[in-house]
Amino acid sequence: MADQLVQAAPTGSSLRIRRPSSRPGRTARRGRVRQWPGAVFIAPHMLMLGLFMLVPTVYAIYTSLYTTKLIGGTSFSGGANYVAVLQSSQFWDGVGRVLLFGVIQVPLTIALAFFFAAIFDAGIVRFSRFFRTVFFIPFAVPGVVAAVMWSFLLLPGFGPYATFAQALGLGKLNFFSSQLILPTLILIVIWEFTGYNMTILYTSLKSIPREVTEAAIVEGASLWRIILRIKLPMVMPTVVMLVFLNTVGALQLFTEPSILAAFQPQAISFGFTPSLFVYNTAVGSGEYNLGAAAAVVLALIIGVISVAGFAVRRRNGEFK
């Protein structure tokens, strides 16, 4: 049952494309197998993918090349919108902010997740089943609700966490001040996603053969050495996948700051993150063409970072 998915973890959890396990040689020998029904089976999905992902992508690029004016209507403007986006310091501030956010949040989340996954996998913590369940719960909480809860909890002055910080002698902390807003968002996102990452890593660690651990113990390796030197390298493909998914998520950061903006408008600017910039430009200011151009630039930035990441891995020979 579910275990079979678990079992597929070591290879399946990396993002590389595997060939289907049906061996072409055997199929060819039998000769009579019709292969075209495969195309029919995937057709409905490809149709939806085309209509709801490819068409909008193409249309976004098309729209971004035009400009709509109050007087004079819509006209072709070439790269003018792109120039406007690329010259917008607000846009680049946002890009810089989500990069900084990602550089801190992604390693923290994955390190925490791996730490917990490893000690649960080693079976050295009591009630580990209970902890695993609890840690995963935020996955079921929408980002909107998470941000609302944390907005109240971190409320300057009255909020329980500000009171708590004061009791610890940290003074009057304003979690939404310009210095602390980024750490606050990092805290919220760590709360949301650590358990989810932990679950994936735990499943991956579980698929390491028991003999590997036993051999290491016989050799006299300590627990921490086994975890960091033996198990971590074995689940590296999963870690890479998680770094990739978390980074893409971080660069798209939108829900949490947009909800916090209602509570603390001064803390979240127009272009706080690139996604907010896209939203505020298009929906807030009604400049759809400019918004489309910003969306295309954001997609390109994410694409370039992802491809660069994969290229580095491939060059290091860790990716087949």
């Binding site: 579910a2 275990d3 079979q4 998915l5 079992q7 399946g12 993002l15 289907p20 396990s21 049906s22 019709r34 029904p37 495969g38 089976f41 995937i42 999905h45 490809m46 939806m48 993918l49 709801f52 992902m53 909008p56 992508t57 249309y59 976004a60 729209t63 925490l112 000690i119 080693a122 913590v125 995963f136 079921a140 909480v141 980002g143 609700v145 809860m149 907005s151 109240f152 909020g159 329980p160 650590t194 679950t199 994936i200 991956s204 579980k206 053969p209 113990i217 998914l245 893409v248 998520g249 798209q252 829900t255 209602a262 996604s275 939203y279 929906v283 969306a295 954001l298 997609a299 992802s306």
Partner: protein, 302 residues
């Protein structure tokens, strides 16, 4: 291989073999406990504050009850339109419709496509699968706005199908179904059925799908959560508040509550948040093992 892996995953190496000091185990357990408190605290806060009125939400200690017990009045207010923001119960109904239809659609499409990719070698299969995986790279924020602009052209703005149809595209669903079918539907079985003259559709419905039920449940759950928690797409494509799902509805209440000269909206916001998360947490606790398996290759969205 399968049986062997299963045995290994259920039997732990006895902890004492690691030669840890007793203090280490206790310290680690304490660390886990602290993190568990960190995780549960906001949810406990939500539960407690759903019983308060607005004054006590701000004026009393967040982690204990205070003032009149108003949980049921707060829940009753979810059925009313307060200050024109919309009606929570309608949003709940919308969310159920979007989540159920979107997830069922995504599961059907993923099962078909996963089977197609797993068990057929047709021209262009690898390229198409690569294309499917590459769409993981396209950020939802870059997609939702153009989608809205296309909807404006074809009249899908403020249509529930504008929300449901894109939700049926699930890259993770396809990946999971393909992996699952490769592992649990033997090629020989399919070929034996072909020898007997069964049609391809019959093989799919009668053999492949019954063997894939756990995989199907996993995909269904993952996509229900994804649609239930989706915020950006409905935020962009709906302008009528009677069409909002819970996430967008709550964010509008949140904005109204904070810009706030309006009536007591904070209890509605908090109680609404509670009612939004409870169904999914309950669903998750009951069907946890499916989530665990599926989370394996799930995707993260920001």
């Amino acid at each position: 291989m399968s049986r062997r892996a299963k045995r290994q995953s259920t039997e732990l190496v006895p902890a004492h073999l690691y030669g840890l000091r007793r203090g280490t185990t206790s310290a680690l357990t304490v660390l886990c406990l602290l993190f568990a408190i960190f995780v549960l605290a906001p949810l406990v806060w939500l539960l407690i504050n759903a019983t308060k009125n607005q004054a006590y939400v701000y004026g009393s200690f967040g982690f204990w009850f205070a003032g009149p017990f108003r949980l049921f009045q707060n829940i009753a207010e979810l059925g009313q339109d307060i200050s024109g923001a919309g009606i929570f119960v309608e949003w709940l109904g919308n969310t159920l419709i979007y989540a159920v239809l979107g997830a069922v659609g995504a599961t059907i499409l993923s099962a078909l496509a996963g089977y197609g990719f797993a068990r057929f070698r047709f021209r262009g299969a690898n390229a198409l699968f690569f294309l499917v995986m590459a769409t993981l790279l396209v950020p939802i924020t870059s997609l939702a706005l153009p989608l809205f602009l296309v909807y404006a052209k074809v009249g899908l703005v403020n249509s529930i199908w504008g929300m449901i149809l894109p939700s049926t595209v699930s890259v993770v669903g396809i990946y999971l179904m393909r992996t699952y079918i490769e592992a649990s539907v033997p090629q020989d079985l399919i070929e034996a059925a072909r020898m007997d003259g069964a049609s391809e559709l019959r093989i799919f419905l009668g053999i492949a799908m019954p063997l894939s039920v756990p995989g199907l449940v996993t995909v269904l759950l993952i996509t229900v959560v994804a649609v239930w928690n989706n915020y950006f797409l409905p935020l962009i494509i709906f302008s009528k508040n009677s069409l909002y799902p819970l996430t967008v509805g709550l964010s509008s209440v949140s904005a109204a509550a904070e810009s706030g000269t309006k009536a007591d909206l904070v209890p509605v916001l908090i109680t609404g948040g509670l009612v939004t998360v409870l169904p999914l947490i309950v669903l998750f606790l009951f069907l946890e093992r499916y989530f665990r398996a599926g989370a394996l290759q799930g995707s993260l969205t920001g």
